[in-house]
Amino acid sequence: MNDFLLIFRRDFTNKEAQPSPEELQNSISAWQNWFGGIAAQNKLARPLQRWDISGKVVKADKHVINGPFVEIKESIGGLVIIKAESYEDAVEIAQGCPILELGGNVEIRMASEPEG
């Protein structure tokens, strides 16, 4: 088993891209069921953590701006660290992520041990 980082991104700024209140309401139980399903397989690697929606960005010139991140239009909505056998296994779990229903995407990264 390896640890995998799943980052959920979607566009939080563009008005047209926002889900309706009803969609959001349905989304809450979908998220809870998705997390519950991962936890039921004992594949939650770390406790869940909520993240502030706005955030800040430090630019190359050390200038700080408020999030989100104009270049890619999408913000991190949240993240979870899970245990999975392989990328294939992690992808299967990510395919159930409710962010996809809201037009977002999931980035997956496997944890790597420092070398040496």
Partner: protein, 412 residues
């Protein structure tokens, strides 16, 4: 109360109080002396009351005799007196003046101190529970052996090992500080919950004893509530959970002691008074920001007090199970969560999730699959129940599974 019941009842309620006060006074190193003094006191009561009749106030009589026996012991054993905690020496100029404090306040404080002494993570959980049953609840070795379906020898050894360990660690029995309470309350609650479960899920046929274990566990949690520093939201949540569970005590087994599953229970046998108490403590548990597993479990138990299946009920139960798993994984919670998922999203969705659990050494896993496949694919359901039968150990579990197998065989 009948005379012959008086001594056992007083033993149950008073033994632990006097032992706690004496243990706190003498220190863990001299726990046998504390136990001897109290046993002698009860022996004297049995002898004298049977010949001379009952005193007007039996409890006061016991306290006086315990006080005198303590004083005599201190007078007789000067060596012990020198070793004793400085407390006695500090409070009294000499043992002639020494008076054992058996006030309500000191008994309460001593019992709280004892709870934190006994529920010590440095001794095994099993030993903590056995010690709690013996020292905090006043159960005799025979009763504990009956509940564990074992013999007195085993319990005696387990208790002695635990007491030796506490002596070795040289733990002082004192009122826990606020900091200690914060650090150790979770362990205390775990032990008390296990003590409760020992009664609630014990396979012994002795239902009176099982009920007594549950009542005693609840009394100890209630005692935590009575002290300001330990009257915490999660303590109320645990008490609420225990109230909801015990409310179904009369409904959960038949005359032969066989288990009756939740869905088959006669809800008119549920104890409404305990359900109301559970709701009251659940309300109190909502104070503060911390959400413990006891809050979530109490929430689940709360929704189970409504027998009728509604969408709201099962959605709430499912979300509580989700949160419980996110907080702390346990195979049995994962299985229960999947059962709730079937109630909310249907059997097909739940089967897909259930098969991901892969708890292939757990008979409950196959029973769940058997349940989910019933009416979806009865042949497969039967196969799963048969696998559950192969893995099940206890007679009660085997009986439940065989009932399902019989029903399915009729359908196929």
């Amino acid at each position: 109360m009948k005379d012959q019941e008086l001594i056992p009842n007083l033993f149950r309620t008073e033994y632990r109080k006097i032992v706690s006060v004496l243990c706190r006074l003498f220190g863990m190193a001299h726990i046998e002396i504390a136990e001897d003094i109290v046993s002698d006191t009860f022996l004297a009561a049995t002898e004298i009351w049977s010949t001379k009749g009952l005193p007007d106030n039996p409890r006061a009589w016991l306290y006086t005799v315990a006080k005198n026996k303590t004083k005599n012991y201190l007078k007789r054993d000067s060596l012990f007196q020198q070793k004793l905690s400085p407390e006695i020496q500090y409070h009294t100029a000499n043992t002639e003046e020494f008076e054992l404090d058996l006030s309500v306040k000191n008994i309460g404080d001593s019992q709280l101190a004892m709870i934190f002494t006994v529920c010590n993570p440095q001794i095994s959980t099993e030993a903590q529970v056995a010690l709690a049953l013996n020292l905090l609840c006043g159960f005799g070795i025979q009763e504990i052996a009956d509940a564990y379906l074992t013999n007195k020898e085993v319990v005696y050894k387990r208790l002695n090992r635990a007491k030796e360990k506490l002596k070795e660690l040289n733990i002082s029995i004192q009122q826990p500080s606020l900091n200690e309470i914060n650090l150790r309350i979770d362990n205390v609650l775990t032990t008390l919950y296990l003590l409760f479960s020992e009664g609630y899920y014990s396979t012994t046929q002795n239902t009176t004893l099982r009920r007594d274990f549950c009542t005693e566990a609840m009394r100890l949690v209630y005692m935590l509530r009575e002290h300001a520093h330990t009257n915490l939201p999660k303590v109320n949540a645990l008490l609420s959970l225990m109230c909801f569970h015990t409310s179904r005590f009369d409904a959960r087994s038949d005359q032969n002691g066989e288990a009756i599953l939740y869905q088959d229970q006669d809800e008119s046998l549920w104890n409404m008074e305990l359900i109301d108490q559970g709701k009251y403590y659940l309300g109190l548990s909502a104070a503060g920001a911390q959400l413990s597993k006891y809050h979530l479990e109490a929430g689940i138990a709360y929704w189970h007090t409504y027998k009728e299946d509604t969408t709201e009920k099962w959605e709430q139960i499912l979300q509580l199970y989700n949160n419980l798993l996110i907080l702390e994984y346990s195979p049995i919670v994962a299985l229960n969560r999947t059962f709730a998922l079937a109630k909310v999203n249907g059997k097909t969705a739940a089967i897909a999730e259930a098969e991901k659990l892969k708890l292939t050494d757990n008979h409950f896993y196959y029973s769940l699959l058997g349940n989910l496949y019933t009416d979806v694919d009865n042949a497969l359901a039967l196969k799963h129940y048969e696998q559950a039968m192969d893995l099940a150990v206890s007679t009660a579990d085997k009986l439940t599974i065989s009932k399902h197998i019989q029903q399915l065989e009729k359908l196929i």
